[in-house]
């Protein structure tokens, strides 16, 4: 591991974050862009759920996580508290793994 990697990655990562934050800092966005920006978290977080649940190293995979997150989806649907959903998702995944699926 080189210091070059640590420093360049830090600069790159912060530049992404700061650009997005500062770009629209002083003004209201045009209405269409503002609406689009408001929908970004829904689109990306849903994609992240797919990524974290059914992919592994760039390939689609079904394993214990799919069962755990499936249980979490049911609990979230029933409007269970966020902490309950998180703990249930982790516990079901751990249990399925423990029995060797």
């Amino acid at each position: 591991m080189t210091w070059t990697l640590v420093i360049v990655l830090a600069v790159v990562a912060y530049t992404f974050k700061a650009t997005g934050m500062v770009l629209a800092a002083g003004r209201r966005l045009p209405p269409v862009l503002d609406r689009a920006a408001a929908l970004v978290p829904a689109a990306l977080i849903a994609a992240l759920v797919v990524n974290d649940t059914v992919t592994s190293a760039g390939a689609l995979t079904i394993d214990a996580r799919a069962v755990g997150v499936g249980a979490a989806i049911v609990a979230a649907w029933r409007r269970a508290h966020l902490i309950v959903v998180i703990v249930l998702g982790a516990a079901v995944t751990a249990a399925v793994r423990a029995i060797g699926m």
């Binding site: 920006a37 689109a43 979490a72 966020l82």
Partner: protein, 216 residues
């Protein structure tokens, strides 16, 4: 998600789970050949878990700096898109606040903020989660780097804790057709793009799904 204590406690639960991954990262980075200093500076300055894990896995597999940067950059890019969205809920014109907010703009803080009912709740959720995750990630990193890791987060199903939490944060948004369209579109894009695009890009491409919601 409406009362304050609920936001704080949920943010801290996520932060604690991140801390366990911090331990795994710290231990993994040192065993990939990084010094304790390099490992801790990386977590303090980069603060993008997926990028950092990607970088050390390339190094551990014998890859070079350029290869490690390539994959890590793709995974860091989505924070820029999150920042555009979070920019809307932070007060306008305060540059210093925004430059600090930028560093804690990550999956967890964005998801928690987007589940909030109004801008004031969103700001609170963003800062509590962002700072909580920052603190636990860095403490975990130091512990793992110094002491090594005896815990595998997967044994406790902690890798499923994040998508589970994100599902719960998305749930209140699903009543709104525009958000629902964006979320379903984003999920489908990620599913279709994963086998064909490099890791990190499918999530970035999912941003295109906002087009499905803009006109609703």
């Amino acid at each position: 998600m409406n009362d304050q204590r609920s936001v704080v406690s949920a943010g801290l639960v996520l932060a604690a789970a991140v801390g366990v991954f911090g331990i795994a990262f710290g231990a993994g980075a040192v065993s990939a050949g990084a010094s304790v200093w390099q490992t801790c500076v990386m977590s303090l300055a980069v603060f993008t878990g997926a990028s950092q894990f990607s970088a050390i896995s390339v190094i551990a597999a014998g890859g070079g700096t350029v290869a490690a940067l390539g994959g890590a950059t793709l995974l860091a890019a989505r924070n820029g898109v999150y920042a555009l969205a979070m920019s809307r809920v932070l007060p306008r014109g305060r540059l210093a606040t925004r430059l600090i907010a930028a560093q804690v703009t990550i999956d967890e803080s964005t998801a928690m903020a987007s589940a909030a009912r109004d801008d004031a709740d969103a700001r609170r959720a963003f800062w509590v989660t962002g700072i909580g995750v920052y603190v636990f990630w860095n403490i975990g990193t130091l512990m793992g780097a110094v002491a090594g890791s005896a815990v595998d987060p997967a044994v406790f199903g902690l890798d499923a804790a994040f998508p589970s939490g994100f599902v719960a944060m998305l749930a209140p948004l699903m009543d709104q057709p525009a958000h629902r369209a964006a979320a379903i579109g984003g999920a489908v894009i990620c599913l279709v793009a994963t086998p064909v695009l490099p890791v990190g890009l499918p999530i970035l491409c999912a941003a295109a799904a906002v087009m499905l919601g803009v006109r609703r």
